[in-house]
Symmetry: none
Subunit: 102 residues, 4 copies
Amino acid sequence: MSDVGHNSGSIVAERLWSIVCRIERLEDEKKALSADIKEIYQEAKSGGFDCKTIRALIRERKQDPADVEEQETLLDTYRRALGPYADTPLGAAAMERVAAHA
Amino acid sequence: MSDVGHNSGSIVAERLWSIVCRIERLEDEKKALSADIKEIYQEAKSGGFDCKTIRALIRERKQDPADVEEQETLLDTYRRALGPYADTPLGAAAMERVAAHA
Amino acid sequence: MSDVGHNSGSIVAERLWSIVCRIERLEDEKKALSADIKEIYQEAKSGGFDCKTIRALIRERKQDPADVEEQETLLDTYRRALGPYADTPLGAAAMERVAAHA
Amino acid sequence: MSDVGHNSGSIVAERLWSIVCRIERLEDEKKALSADIKEIYQEAKSGGFDCKTIRALIRERKQDPADVEEQETLLDTYRRALGPYADTPLGAAAMERVAAHA
DNA sequence: ACTGAAGGCTGCCCGC
DNA sequence: GCGGGCAGCCTTCAGT
């Protein structure tokens, strides 16, 4: 073990400290932001808005700008297949793919 | 500490053991069920189905038989208000309630 | 409904928009911070640290040392109480009773 | 596309239904077990036990004791390294491994 | 004060 | 082997 090695513990400790410190700092900032958000919800509530609905709205907006439709289409196929269960109106064609796989 | 107290520890310990044991047993059963479910998903996958979509389908069916509509109505009001943001097509009337509250 | 009332919908909508907008902004910032934290953990991992342990360390530092000790003490009490049951034949027999009952 | 193919949609639909149905059944059973567990925790609480501690106990029992000890040891190493931060009393040696990795 | 829900964190499993 | 996605657990917070 070299002299450098002898001191490397300190160096490593310092790096560990740096890591922990930075993470804790960032987590504090996150916590502060959460508090701010909470405050806004309270303000909304005071203004007569329904917070639960606002949460739903924001949740929706978060996933809207995505490819929801593609997933929705496939889900619809499955839904139709399940609906009357033994019935396959126009989902049959789409289901052929699955049958072909078998 | 009386003799009764001396023995009560055992009694309490037995009760604690009973509690822990029963919980662990139930958790094992839960785990077994999870394994079964997983197996079915694999079977589905082998059959050419899309597991993610099946999950979505099941999730939907779980919350469908509820009062989704009531919540949806209010959400729609808020959604319309936000749409063009400053616009209040027919959500204005619904929004009066909020205004009155202010 | 007055003229003021006629416009109040817009005003309310604007307030709603303000609320939603600010919340989404704050949530974006939170998300960014989460990404930063994740990055630091990756750096830690690259440096040969065990991330799981670092997480444990940070979790521990977040709590009051007194609480930690108290919790640990109680856990030890329960652990000791359970020990004789789980590890002895007598305990095993008692275990059967409960198992049969379940 | 054969006649069989013509009907395969129904067949596939039936298989899908089977999958969904079985999964939902199993999930219901899981839910029931969760309710049972919750009930036991309530019973524990009524009996004067601390549920949080019981949960910790069960969590601990789920793991290999060796792993628990190893994790605790590593945590201690990190803790000592961080304590006076720049100080590495006897954690230095343990930290060498990390240094070697860098 | 307690219960029920919402969000965040953790461990697991799959695909790359 | 690793990073992402997903389900479960824990914690916190609003509501009662």
